[in-house]
């Protein structure tokens, strides 16, 4: 069952992936916020502490600019604990670079997109999303 029209995000790093949506209600710094060993959200100040990010299509309003988040993302991609795709509310250089390094080192391509906030607000947690190489995001269930 399709639940809406596909949208085209702005591609910060191209990749393809699909999974169930996880919408973060507050920005997250991956450093201090994501355990790359397990894919768990560990930021004690974040309301969704304990959430599992691995394999999910994660919608987040913003990164929080920690320099080390690029390393944490690259390590999570290497360790297969990364989200299936990252859909951001605003451009984020640090996350784009983390994805670029993981592709250069391991040939794994995590999609990092900027998507419109009004579209993101219509996505339910658990809804199946498919992200394509060209930045198209399709809700598949």
């Amino acid at each position: 069952m399709s639940t809406g029209r596909p949208i085209r995000g702005k591609v910060l790093h191209a990749g393809a992936g699909s999974g169930s949506a996880l919408r973060l209600v507050e920005p997250l710094s991956l450093w201090g916020g994501l355990d790359p060993g397990t894919g768990t959200l560990i930021d004690a100040h974040h309301p969704q502490r304990g959430a599992q990010l691995a394999g999910r299509v994660v919608l987040m309003p913003a990164g929080r600019g920690s320099s080390s988040s690029a390393s944490v993302l690259a390590e999570a991609i290497r360790a297969n604990t990364a989200p299936a795709a990252l859909l951001l509310g605003e451009p984020d250089l640090i996350l784009a670079i983390g994805a670029e390094v993981a592709e250069a080192l391991y040939g794994r391509r995590l999609a990092v997109l900027v998507v419109p906030a009004d579209w993101a607000a219509t996505i339910r947690d658990g809804q199946e999303l498919r992200v394509q190489e060209d930045g198209t995001v399709v809700a598949t269930g």
């Binding site: 920005p27 100040h45 913003a62 600019g65 320099s67 988040s69 390393s71 991609i77 784009a96």
Partner: protein
Amino acid sequence: MLRGEQGSGAALAMRLVVRAAEVLRAERLIPITRAHVDSCLYHGPATLDFANALVDGGARVRVPATLNVGAVDLLHPELWHGSAEDADRGRQLMDAYRTLGCQPTFTCAPYQLPDARPGFGEQVAWAESNAIVFCNSALGARTERYGDFIDIACAVIGAVPEAGLHTTEARRAVMVLRTGPDVPDALRHADVLYPVLGIVLGRHAGARVAVLDGLPPLSEERLKAIGAAAASSGAVAMFHVVGSTPEAPTLADALGGRDPEETLEIGLAELRAARDSLTSDAGAAPGGPVGAVSLGTPHASLAELREIAGMLDGQQVARGVELMVSTARDTLAAASQDGTAARLQTAGVELLVDTCSYLGPLLRPTDLPVMTDSGKWAYYAPGNIGAKVIFGSRLECVRSAISGRLWRDERAWGGA
């Protein structure tokens, strides 16, 4: 360069700089005079794989590059309570960045090293969120928010995309935060206000540039405390303080002569709530036991080391309590010259360099709460090392370390 005629390391660096230019929508690259590199902190095999790809590919930095903290204290390896394997991986990564030509400063506060401070208007590539915000705000030098990998890439290329905070337009404040009339004057003149104000700033500003108004002239240490906290609770990369930071001699200068998008008044109740949010140990009460105290996040300046020594005033840290102060190896060398380090060590203080106590197993294991005067440490330590945190002023921290019991002084906050 992308094709690798200068080696595969330089090609990898150029690939990242080009990607950055695309993300930032820059039309050209501009030269930089120096870099500060955060990539030397081990976060797993990917970080070492990347460094080795640069080393094996023959890359070298083209501009002077200082290094941020690593995982271990290379000068005091006994201050490590984790596995030998983890320490070894952390050390390998720190060594790899020295091989690339970076200077072994291993500090998150390179702006406290006289030779590493950029001048007003200098274009640089700095990583480490607190260093970025200090560089832009307190020094008036210009850096975008660089993170791991892109920092060393810019240092190898010697250039950055012309975008963001490298340009004058992006540096003007778009919001005003003004402390309210109910904020006691004593609090405005207390160090403890500034990490708390930084937490509030980060929450309101997010990634925007804000200007703080209504504050007395601030020391570099207070600007450091604001910035480190604001870059923890928000993505702040620059702020102004009217009368204290170089691009804000007046409010109108900070705003670039335009009207702000938003003006907020910060009252005492909001500040108290932000202060309380930094204490994760809900049951903490005066007189309760304290297991350890961590000071020096960001790394303590020489003035701060002297202040801590003065607060100890010949007294000893309580038996069984650890008082750890993180600083730069160069600052420790200066403190050893003037006798401050000896005064601290005699009192039982542990001086940690090259790393920071919330990055790994550096504090002795304790089930008791750990006290800190740092907004950043308080913010990250629960997630990073599982510490139960009590936030307090530097004097509250030191006196609690001496007695082993939580000591509070609420007077500056308008309380008993």
